[in-house]
Structures are given as structure tokens and as C-alpha cells.
Amino acid sequence: MRTSPRRWWVGAIAVCAALWGGIETAGVFGEEAPPEDEVAAAPETPASELDTGANAWMLTSSALVLFMTAPGLAMFYGGLVRRKNVLSVMMQCLFLMAIMSLVWGLWGYSLAFGDGGRWIGNADYLGMRGVQMEAGQAPMVPGLGIPRLTHMVFQGMFFIITPALICGAFAERMKFSAMVALMVLWGTIVYTPLCHWVWAEGVLAFGADGAFAGGALDFAGGTVVHISSGFSALVCALVLGPRLGYGHDDMRPHNLAFTSLGAAMLWVGWFGFNAGSALAADGLAASAFVVTHFSAAAGAVAWSVVEWVYRGKPSVLGAASGAVAGLVCITPASGFVQPLPAMIMGAAAGVVCFIACAAVKTRFGYDDSLDAFGVHGIGGTLGAILTGIFATRAVAPDYADGLLYSVSEGGPLLVGQIVAVVVTAVFSIVVTLVLLKVIDATIGLRVSQEDEMRGLDLSEHGEEGYIFTG
């Protein structure tokens, strides 16, 4: 399947030579190198036949997941900050779309999905070799019917949104340069190993050889995306400290219309995130699509109702946050649970995340500006645990029944889920802490007090979000 490193160089030289040396040379190499390689590779992958339906859906899903980061998350987060910081948040999302894509293409995908063993990938796909087209043929992912290019770009979108989620914790006070350094390192050192552990037969993959406690079920990124980003976000909030004036200044969201629309875009994009994680356009994708939708709906209703009962009014921000909480919670479970349990999971997320944001944060006094931990860390953890309860072989026959359906299978599964949560959380916390300390000692994490008061739009980017004069 995979082209060897030498072959890749031969191909590259062939192309250069062809361009440089004219028709003769091109003819020689054209007959010889790449096609034979493809033919030789073919028998390794019996199911290398392109499934056009699957490929179409996966490319669509990739675009949907990108759409989650911006405009989705950019607007969701952008509306939640004060007017003077709206651009800084949008820039974080937009710039991460760009820089993380480059990192993913150069080494991220290879470290995450190279076949390197239990802990980390390898150098097979560095710089897109073995991924990019060769002699007019796209290398296929064994057994999936989609090109490796599609798999790479789909997974790359997760690599973008995961660090972008963390931005919610340090919004309105972190240096842009420090943010960029942190995310490139975090993506490389935290995300790619985690991704490998969970989705490339690593130490957290369900049923993989040598997996911790038998591994865990994580369909679309409860551990890899939400627990990792959520707990890293908490560390960021704690290490950077609260914003100037936190607790007494007016820090109301400056534009909840943005936030509502952003939440709605996240909801739409999440269909690509979860249903796309089926890596096929099959029944499982449909099931994941439906449970994702129901969980979001139940989350929005649950959070709103809790507020309605306890505060007298259902808030727009509550409905939007509840939908996101529901989406986070269903993420690990989306390929394993039925629609009704999905509604329960969404509702549970709406209530639990409300408590995390409204009560727990106030109690402990950390300034997780936009509740990255309260929604993603807590919601992701809840989702991972509830997956161990509601998973069913009716949806995924090859995996395991959760505690609700079978005590003998569900018990060990639940243990595996909890172990995966702990491993992911501890790993994320420790590495993020080290990275923050290193960056603090070199670049510095926070902007100056003066700059924080002026707002990051002006101090970091030299622009303003809203100019109504003239």
C-alpha cells in the first residue's frame, strides 16, 4: 500500500528530471517508476476499490468539520468576549485553521496515523508522502474505500478545532505569539500521541493489544478532542490567572447574536464530526448523525429548563451552551448508542455542564473565560463514562454492550472508559503545564496590563472590530 521513502524520492526526481530534461527523460521515467509501484502495492489492500459514496461523504464531512472552527467556533467564542477582544478570538480560530493545517501536513498526520506501534506513529507520511497521488492514483486506506488523502484531510480538521477549543480558557489575555507556540507544540506533543492511542490501535483503543484496561470506545473524539482540550484549558486558565478585573468588572458577552449563530453552525458542523467518523456513508453514519442531533436538542432543552426553573428565565446563551454540551457529550458515543439514550446523554450534559459553568467555576474562582473546561472537559468526561453505560452491540456488533445492556461486558467497558478519561486528562494536564512553563519563561504568556486594558484587538493585531464612525 504505502510507497517506500526511496520510491518517493525517485518519483520526485523523476518529475524534476522530466520538467528539466525534456520529453525523452519524461518518457523513460513515465513508463517505469510509479505505475509499477501502484500495481505492486495493490494486492496488500484487497478493499482498495474506491467507494465514491463514502469518499463524497467524507470530503463533505471534512468541510463541515472545518466549518465548525470558523465560522462556528469563531463566532461562538467571538460573541462571548468583550468588544475590544472580538478580533483576537476570531484571529485565534482563523490562524489555527492555517497553522495547524501546515503542521498536520508536514508531520502531524504521520505521527498520529503512521503505523508505528502502540505509542506514536512513524515517519511514513511525513510531508504527505504515501498520502499524495502517485502516477494519477491516490493511495487508498486499507479496507475503507477512501483515499488516504481524504482520511488525512478529515482528521486534519480535528487537529484544527481541538486547540481552537482551548482558546476559550485564556481568551482576552494571552499573547498571540505564545498562543501560536503553545498550539504547535501542543498539537505535536499532546494531540498526535492521543490520536494514535485511540484511533490507530494504540494504548487506549478498544480491544487493541496491550491497551489499558482493555481500551475505550471513542467514536469521534471524546477523549482525543474534548477531554484533552478541556483539561488543557483548565490548566491554561489556572496558569495564566484571571483576567484583570475578573469578578467585579463588566465582562458580559458583547454579542450573543454572534454566539447563537456560532452555536447553530457548530451544531451543523458536528454532523460531519460525528457522522463522518464512521469513515463511510453507511447505516452507522446515519445512526451517528441522528444521535448527534438528538443529543444536541436534548442538551439545549435541558440547560434552558434548568435556568427557567432556577432563574426564572431561559437564556439564549443557556440554550446555545446546552446544545454544544449535548454535542460534546454524544461525541464519543455517537457510533455506539441508540437515539433514546442519546437524548438522555444530551439532557444529562445540559444539566451537568450548567452546574460546572455556573456553580463549580464560581466556587473555585478560576477564570475559564468562555468555559472551555466546563463544557468540553466536563461534557467530554460525562460522554466517555456514559458511553460505557449506553453502548450497544445493536449499533456496533463488533464492540461491546454497555452496563445498561450487559453487566459482564459493560462492567469492564466502563472501567476501560474511566481509565481512558484519567489517562487522557493526566497526560494533557502534565504536558500542557510543562509547555506553559517553558513558554512563560521564553516568550511570556500574558500581554501587559496596559495591553489587556486596551484590548487584544488593538495591542496584538492593531485593528478594531467595530468602527461605526464616518
Binding site: 463588566d250 458580559r252 437564556s315 455556573a358 464560581t362 468555559d371
Partner: protein
């Protein structure tokens, strides 16, 4: 000449402006303002974080008129700015030393 500053409700602005226009007041300055008086503010809640908003948004109009015209102007604002509920606003009246039209240099009432 008198300067009349009236703080009124947003939704009364059109009514007051049109009525003043009918009574010969053909110019005014309007500002969005925030403040408080007897009308209390309110609390807002964002994911459990409570904010008390003391300053209530209002709109302030500034009109300048001749001494003779004052009562008419004040009556008009009272009539068209009133709802009878707390929060209708206030009118402040002060003497004005002079007014100058920048285009022509005219002074006093001729500049109004």
C-alpha cells in the same frame, strides 16, 4: 434663548421630534445616553454569572429655542414623551448665552 435638554424613552423619540417640528423647532441634537434615576436597573445572567446593570439606556435630545417659545416646547415634550410610568425621563432648562450658525456667521435667534 433657552437650551432644553430632555432625557426621554427611545420609543418616544419619533413622536417628540415630529411634534416639535410642527411647533416650529426645526433642528435638534440627539444622543444615546445611559443613567439612572428612580427607575431601577436590572440584573442579567450569563451562565450563572450575575451582572447588575444600574445604568438604563435613554435618549437625550437637545433643543434651543427663543424665550417666548419655551413653554410650547416644554408642553410638547411633556405631552409626547409621557407614558405615566417611572422612567419617562426629565427635562432640564438653562439660559443660553449665544448661538452661531457656522455657515453664515449669524448670531442669536437668527442662527436657530
Amino acid at each position: 434663548m433657552k437650551k432644553i435638554e430632555a432625557i426621554i424613552r427611545h420609543f418616544k423619540l419619533e413622536d417628540v421630534k415630529n411634534a416639535l417640528n410642527e411647533h416650529g423647532i426645526h433642528g435638534m441634537t440627539v444622543q444615546e445616553v445611559r443613567g439612572y434615576g428612580r427607575q431601577k436597573g436590572h440584573t442579567e445572567m450569563y451562565r450563572g454569572a450575575e451582572y447588575t446593570v444600574d445604568f438604563v439606556p435613554k435618549v437625550k435630545i437637545e433643543v434651543v429655542c427663543s424665550d417666548d417659545n419655551l413653554d410650547r416646547v416644554v408642553d410638547t415634550i411633556l405631552k409626547h414623551g409621557q407614558t405615566g410610568e417611572i422612567g419617562d425621563g426629565k427635562i432640564f432648562i438653562s439660559d443660553l448665552q449665544d448661538a452661531i450658525r457656522i455657515r453664515t456667521g449669524e448670531r442669536g435667534e437668527a442662527a436657530l
